[in-house]
Structure formats: C-alpha cells, structure tokens
Symmetry: C2
Subunit: 252 residues, 2 copies
Amino acid sequence: VANETGAAGEIVTAALCVIGDEILSGRTKDKNIGYIADHLTTIGIQLKEVRVVPDEEPEIVAAVNALRARYTYVFTTGGIGPTHDDITADAIAKAFGVGIDVDERALTPMKAYFERRGVELTPARLRMARIPFGAELVENSVSIAPGFMLGNVVVMAGIPSIMQVMLDAATKYLKTGRKMLSAALDLHRPEGEIADMFEDLQKRYPDVPMGSYPFIRDGKPGTQLVLRSIDAARLADAEKELKVLLAARGWL
Amino acid sequence: VANETGAAGEIVTAALCVIGDEILSGRTKDKNIGYIADHLTTIGIQLKEVRVVPDEEPEIVAAVNALRARYTYVFTTGGIGPTHDDITADAIAKAFGVGIDVDERALTPMKAYFERRGVELTPARLRMARIPFGAELVENSVSIAPGFMLGNVVVMAGIPSIMQVMLDAATKYLKTGRKMLSAALDLHRPEGEIADMFEDLQKRYPDVPMGSYPFIRDGKPGTQLVLRSIDAARLADAEKELKVLLAARGWL
C-alpha cells in the first residue's frame, strides 16, 4: 500500500489519545507525545490535540468518539497488552459499535512466535489477538502482538519501542497533507523586547503563524522565534523580513 | 492562607490543559505533565485528564470550560508571556465571561523589578500584567510576572522553572483530598505470564485498582505491578497477598 497524498493544499489533521493511569499518576513519564508530534509533522499531518485519559472504558470511548469526529486521524497509545487493565481494544470496538474477537490474522503469527520461543499461549496472551471487527492490523515487528486501524483510528502500544515500529507500520495507510514548514531563530534577547516588532510582523503576514518561545539558558533569558506556513515562498518572505528587522536593531 | 483539607474520604480531582502549538508540532518537548502529575499525586489531588490544545482562543475556551465543569481544579500551562501569541489570560477571561485589564497588584512589583534591572516596561511587557477580573494572583518568584487563579482554574507559565514556582505558590489555595497511596513491584517476568493470576487478585480487591506496566530492560521483558488505594490497610492486604502469590511461583 502506498501513501495517498492529500489533494494539493489539503490539510490533514490528527489527534493523539494517550491511555493510561500511570501517566496521570506521574509514575510513568510519557515519551510518546513528542515522538508522535515530530513524526506527524515530518510526514505532513498536523497534530491538533492531545488527550491523556485514564484506563476507564467510558472515558476512552468518549475521548475517541469526540476526536475521531473532528480530525482526519486519531492515534491512541497504551492499553493493548495481556492484563485485565488493558481495555483499549474493547473500548475502541464499543466506540465504533462493532464486535470484537480473537482474530486469526493476529493469532497465527503470535502462535508461531510464542512456540519458537517456548512461551505458553495463556488466556491472557490470547487477549492480545482480540481485534475489533473490520479493523486492519498494524504490524508489530518487536513483539508480534499487533496494533490495528479501525476507521480513522490507529491503535498502538504504549511501550515506546513498540509504539515506534507500529507508527512506522501504520504510516503507509495514511494520507498525508501539505507539510507545515517552519523557520526558527534563537535570539539572546528577552521575549518582552521583541514582542512589539514581532506582533507588527505577524499582522503583515496573517497567513504565516508566528510564535515566540522564551527560554532561560546559562541563567539568561532568550527567545526562539518560529514562523510556520505550508507555503514555502511566503515563509521565506516573512523570514527575510524578520531578519532585516532584527539586523536593524543589532539583534542578529 | 493554609491548605483546606478535604473532608474525610473526599476525592479531589484535577485536569491539566497544556496550551501551545510548539508542543503539538514537536518542536518543544513537554516537561510539565509529568512534574504536575507527581506534584498533585503527592498532595492528594488526582489528575484525571490532560489536554494539549493549540494557541487558538476558541480551542482554549472550549477545553477549559469542559474541564472546569468536570473536575475540582484545572491547571493550565503556557501562553501568558508578552507576545501576540500569548492569549491564555484573555481566553480564560472569555471562558468565564469576565473582563480583563492591567491589574495594579501585578503591575506594581513588575515595575519595581524591571526598574531595578534597567529594563523598559514596553506595551508588550505590560500585557503580562493583564489579569481577569476577580482572579487571585499566583506568585512568580523567578521572573515576577504572575500567574493567577480564577474560580477553580489555575493559570501558570509554560517555562518549567517558572511553572514550578507557580505550582508551589498555588498549592496553598488548593484543598487537598485523601492521598492515593500505591505499592509497586518490579518483576523480571513478561506481562503475559502474570496476567491471569493478577486478574484474579484484582477481582478479590475491586476497590484496589491494579495496573501492570510492561518494560524492556537489557533486552528482556519485565513488568511493573502497581496497586493503588486511598485505604492504607486494604492496600497492605492486597500487597501482602500479591507477594504470597508471587513467592509461590518462585517469582519473588
């Protein structure tokens, strides 16, 4: 399956739903949001919203249904392992109003993999082959038990190394839009000094969203200015004008 | 102001709304979610949901209004600096339907601070003293421009070092509930082996939520088992029983 590229100018959007009490309690620090954000930006899909929800079926169903109605794609991470608190697959089936059962396409490679490693196929492990009816499998080259894609929802594992191979595997199913391009400049000036000039520039380029992100480095305030556009020419024009303004003030 | 402790057995909940295009684009990696999750867990407030939303007023207003109706507290990070893309304070005022203007309580210490450092009070910097009507200030001991608390919504900066002092400053305004206690055990067994036993234990302790979190360490699968309860005695009973079960299998 090759990527279908969105029509010229089409904007493809996505949301991410992180499923896991362990993130909300602070016990586990999320490592997936930033990775997925980078990946989607690179392939031309705009991540517009992230939600972290607990391991509770009504919460997962409500979040996934709200997000899938609103964005081109929804990605989920977490809750597809073998234990009783892994309820994502059932919650997704419920969200779509479809059935769910052990899927031979998932089970056959899992059986072979476990047999090769002398691992018993317990009822718990069998749970990992439960796939909602109508879903495509998303390959897991690390530990075989697959993710899946149902409608516009891509369901992935929470362990970063497994999530990452699933995200790669899922990418071939996704249509991608025009890439959001960006230009960034780090200035060793506090945000408050730059703000008025920067706002004026934004007003002249309403189609090039501009953001400023303050940082503290070696105890001194600095600001990263970021310009974003799907139009390379407009982005280049705005960046050039910004540099002229900064040079005139001796800030470059 | 001293902490008001919630009534015995009261559950105090919170949501976090992270405001920032830079997190969604992947350019900046969030460092606040995990920190805030840890802090709230420690003081007895249960973080139940996180949302990351873009720098767009309707998105911020919708998220904050949905969350503040549902949880005891809402915390926001990001978007309270001096530049045109810092729209959080205005969005919060809009969400509550109240006015907003430069607040003398915020401006006076900022003026003194800037004067001491020979920094000009530009119109952009003046923006940081805009506080919605009726809000309490949340002190910022790092860079003076304050956060604020309006109703049950605590508005903080996005820079981690500033967010952290604001979170400390805000904590004194918060009522806290019973602490969620937890016990964790790391096992060098894959999740699939533990699952059936663990589910049986969960059924015997429905009031002690149990989660299992697989990890890969030195290339080998392991599982962290976590038991949680606000009742120390029930938690201890469940943990003791778990250890007996694990020991019987030679897994401890």
